[in-house]
């Protein structure tokens, strides 16, 4: 069967609701299925991959380190919406440096994150076969 394009759209803040954590659990399982996987972060979802998360005050597990492991799962197409960053006073520097090792380029370390405009994001979404929204 042909490989399908799967996109996981993350729209909610990492804590406060369980959506982000359980979305990440889906993505990690999905990595085992040899499909074309990409992730989108928009709206408050951009906070999921923000640097310097500290959950000690709320008594919840800080799972942000797991996003750094996505590259090891061959998940290296991570799209972040520019307008969502702008609206929250954030830039690319506020995001964790998510990277992967490119096996076609002598395992060179490359960035997984692409910052795209809302229009570009819409075009990327339109190309997907399966879109899960969290």
């Amino acid at each position: 069967m042909a490989i399908k394009k799967f996109m996981y759209v993350n729209r909610k803040a990492p804590y406060g609701t369980v959506y982000a954590l359980e979305s990440l659990e889906v993505v990690l399982i999905a990595a085992a299925f040899d499909q074309d996987v990409s992730l989108a972060f928009l709206d408050d979802g951009v906070y999921q991959i923000a640097k310097g998360q500290d959950t000690t005050g709320i008594g919840q597990k800080n799972f942000s380190a797991t996003y750094r492991a996505l590259g090891d799962y061959d998940i290296n197409k991570i799209f972040v919406e520019q307008e969502s960053l702008d609206a929250r006073g954030m830039t690319a520097d506020d995001l964790m440096p998510l990277v992967y090792e490119d096996e076609d380029d002598d395992w060179a370390e490359k960035p997984s994150i692409s910052i795209v405009s809302r229009t570009e994001m819409a075009a990327i979404m339109a190309k997907q076969d399966v879109t899960f929204s969290f």
Binding site: Y19, I29, A30, F33, D129, V130, T131, F132, F134
Partner: protein, 130 residues
């Protein structure tokens, strides 16, 4: 057309649980195939047999069980989400040393791989959530 349906919200809490049930019913009535219905997040609560809504209200969990029986639907509850929220079948309850189980007729508990596989097999995957 062959559909996989994902339901991410709980019954009575959120409209999407109703809309999903109505969509599945309508799709079947039009002759479409429902390859799988996958319950995630609080959506797992659609599969409890211990819900007792007021008698003059809709009976969401019971309606799923009846629809599953009538159309041989594959209703899958995510095990990881179910464990957090206390939805158990008999074998999982035994495994966890619990003295009760509460999965409704027509539902089964399985892993997230069932969702991805559903997405691969179906022509369309539809998510009902917040």
């Amino acid at each position: 057309m062959k559909y996989t349906v994902m339901i991410n919200e709980g019954p009575y809490q959120h409209q999407s649980a109703d809309t999903a049930l109505q969509f599945v019913r309508a799709a079947l009535a039009k002759g479409h195939e429902i390859y799988r219905v996958f319950f995630y997040h609080d959506g797992v609560n659609n599969g409890t047999c211990l819900s007792v809504p007021p008698s003059d209200d809709r009976q969401i969990q019971k309606e799923w069980s009846e629809l599953a029986k009538e159309h041989e639907l594959d209703l899958v509850i995510c095990i990881a989400a179910a464990q957090r929220r206390g939805i158990m079948d008999e074998s999982e309850a035994k495994r966890q040393g619990m003295d009760a189980h509460n999965i409704a007729d027509g539902f089964r508990i399985s892993g997230l791989g069932q969702l991805i596989e559903g997405g691969i097999q179906a022509d369309r995957t539809i998510v009902f959530g917040d």
